[in-house]
């Protein structure tokens, strides 16, 4: 039996190697003292120094982050209230609306991007920061609705009534009773929206203009001429942050969990 177990572990090892190979390469290149990908010119931190003075990359990073957080915040508010509104609808209209909200997830990114671009063209809105933000909100909201909905279903319907019987205004009832209960869903919706927005390329490609570009678009433009090692340095930094953050959060959960080290849940914003 033991060789079978080793075989299984080796398989996971191989898949890990496949998934991490390009990442290891990328990290190595970020320390490579040569602009070419083909040769190793010795260890350097030069790209990390130059990264912070590169206005194009820093600007793109700023756009990515500001669009990401703004889009995530707006779509979390919109999606949470939307989910509550959907939840309170009668069966027929609810199902109709749910199908509509699910459309962007069923559709491919290309179709979403093209359709939003045509919308802005029709409304004579010039493509730029605002259209980029609106588009990101548009494709993030469904994910927020999707992660809030199950929490609403688990909600005890008597709680809201009890709050109102005891004299709470709807707003107080929402803030004190409903929101704390659905908070995990709202939070995971926010994180999901943030992740989707930061990682997005396709929709951004169709809906941005007038020189506004986020990291994905900058990388896409660079890929044709050759990617600057500075981008590798930036990605290494981002990857390191995410890595430490997620592993840290999950290890803490592991330690807290009383069940002999075996954990059912892991926090992955997907």
């Amino acid at each position: 039996m033991n060789w079978k177990k080793n075989l299984r572990k080796a398989y996971i090892g191989l898949i890990m190697a496949f998934l991490y190979a390009p990442i290891v390469m990328l990290i190595l290149y970020s320390f490579n003292n040569s602009k070419s990908r083909a040769q190793w010119g010795g260890f350097t931190l030069r790209w990390y120094h130059e990264l912070f003075t590169d206005e194009a990359i820093m600007g793109a990073l700023g756009t990515t982050l500001s669009i990401g957080f703004l889009a995530a915040a707006i779509s979390t508010v919109l999606g949470t209230f939307g989910a509550i509104a959907l939840f309170q609808m009668k069966r027929r209209p609810r199902q109709a609306m749910l199908s509509v909200v699910n459309l962007p997830m069923l559709n491919s990114e290309v179709v979403t991007g093209v359709s939003l671009m045509l919308l802005f063209a029709m409304a004579h809105i010039q493509l730029g920061y605002v259209t980029l933000l609106l588009s990101h909100v548009a494709f993030c909201v469904p994910y927020v609705v999707l992660s809030v909905m199950p929490k609403l279903r688990q909600l005890d319907p008597n709680l809201a009534e009890a709050a109102q019987d005891l004299g709470a205004t709807p707003m107080q009832g929402f803030l004190r009773v409903i929101l704390p209960d659905i908070m995990p869903g709202v939070f995971s919706g926010f994180v999901m929206a943030l992740t989707m927005s930061i990682d997005d390329f396709v929709v951004s490609f169709f809906t941005t203009g007038s020189g506004v570009s986020n990291l994905s678009i900058t990388i896409y433009t660079m890929a044709k001429r050759g990617i600057s090692p500075k981008i590798n340095a930036l990605s290494t930094l981002i990857f390191a942050c995410v890595f430490i953050l997620l592993i840290g959060v999950n290890l803490q959960d592991l330690r807290r969990d009383p069940r002999k080290g075996k954990v059912e849940k892991v926090r992955i914003p997907y």
């Binding site: 083909a38 509550i84 954990v263």
Partner: protein
């Protein structure tokens, strides 16, 4: 009490503007083409020309505006062999990618949910983590591994220098010293499998993890071999996850336009590339919209075939919470 409609109206309005209207726009652009607005030239007694438009208005400048008219020309164009071949290739590449992802990913989910790993969730997290690095960069990084003077080729070269017998045997088999990995269909498939593999692993893992372990114990107690209990318990219960995984891989695979450009070097254009071109270089938005419609229909047909439309609304009581 807050009125139900007051809460629903803004959301419904938002969904209309940002989901429904854009799709209607695609349909509208898809079934129209642009043509110059018609006008008649009227020569004045003094020899100058004025132009009269259909609505009777006149200008002294030649009208340059275009208008959209209903036409199914783009649908006819879409059915030309060039585009059908592209669609077929996109479907082929997507099907192969999905199959490889399933074959590679299912065992991963199965092994991780088994008893070999003490912290399966952490391993799963490690498998998903690469997805946090920008996918364009990861794909680009594959190019540097696979290119003609890349790392893989230099390792192979070193290996062949070290073992001359291997080198001779490979040469006799017709394998060149520098293997061309990039810029063909296989490279595109590799890029897709790499980018979408975790989309397959995640849902399958989630489903297998939820299977009641006592079912497997019961199967074993009743004398089922591990293979049989897998076939009779785990596999049927994991099917919803498999379907979810297939969708999550197939849909982006059939419509991508970046991976094919990078890994295929423009030599393996897919339907997504052609759509992108219509909104960029060749700039025929109407034809681009027609092709988008085609892609939409293909994707929806695929989902319909898998029975994955309208499955999210679990029954619940109608309650008012606000």
């Amino acid at each position: 009490m807050m009125r139900n409609k007051a809460l629903a109206a803004p959301f419904v309005l938002w969904a209309m503007i940002f989901i429904v209207v854009p799709l209607v726009m695609i349909v509208w652009y898809g079934v129209t083409i642009e043509e110059p607005i018609p006008y008649t030239e009227i020569v004045q007694p003094d020899g100058s020309v004025i132009y009269q438009l259909e609505d009777g208005s006149r200008t002294t400048e030649k009208p340059w505006q275009k208008r959209a008219v209903f036409s199914l020309n783009n649908f006819r164009r879409m059915l030309e062999p060039t585009y059908l071949r592209l669609l077929l290739r996109s479907l082929k590449v997507a099907v192969i990618t999905t199959a490889i992802c399933l074959l590679l990913g299912y065992p991963v989910a199965l092994i991780l949910t088994g008893r070999d790993f003490k912290r399966p969730a952490l391993w799963l997290l490690l498998l998903i983590l690469p997805m946090w690095m920008n996918f364009l960069l990861r794909t680009y990084s594959w190019m540097s591994i696979l290119e003609n003077s890349g790392i893989l080729n230099s390792w192979i070269a070193r290996l062949r220098e070290a073992i001359p017998a291997l080198d001779e045997w490979l040469l006799s088999m017709g394998v060149r010293r520098r293997i061309i990995f990039l810029y063909n269909e296989n490279a595109v498939i590799l890029g897709m499998v790499y980018n979408y593999l975790s989309f397959m692993i995640m849902p399958i893992y989630t489903v297998i993890e939820k299977i009641d372990k006592s079912l497997l114990e019961a199967a074993a107690d009743l004398g089922a071999s591990p293979v049989k209990s897998f076939l009779r318990v785990t596999l049927p219960y994991s099917l919803p996850g498999v379907l979810e995984g297939i969708t999550m891989v197939f849909v982006p695979a059939v419509t991508t336009f970046v991976i094919s450009q990078l890994m295929g070097g423009g030599k393996v254009p897919l339907i997504g590339d052609i759509i992108q071109n219509q909104f960029g270089k060749s700039s025929d938005w109407h034809f681009g919209a027609t092709l988008s419609l085609l892609v939409m229909v293909v994707v929806l047909a695929f989902m319909g075939a898998l029975g994955r439309i309208d499955k999210d609304d679990e029954p619940h009581k109608e309650v008012r919470i606000l």
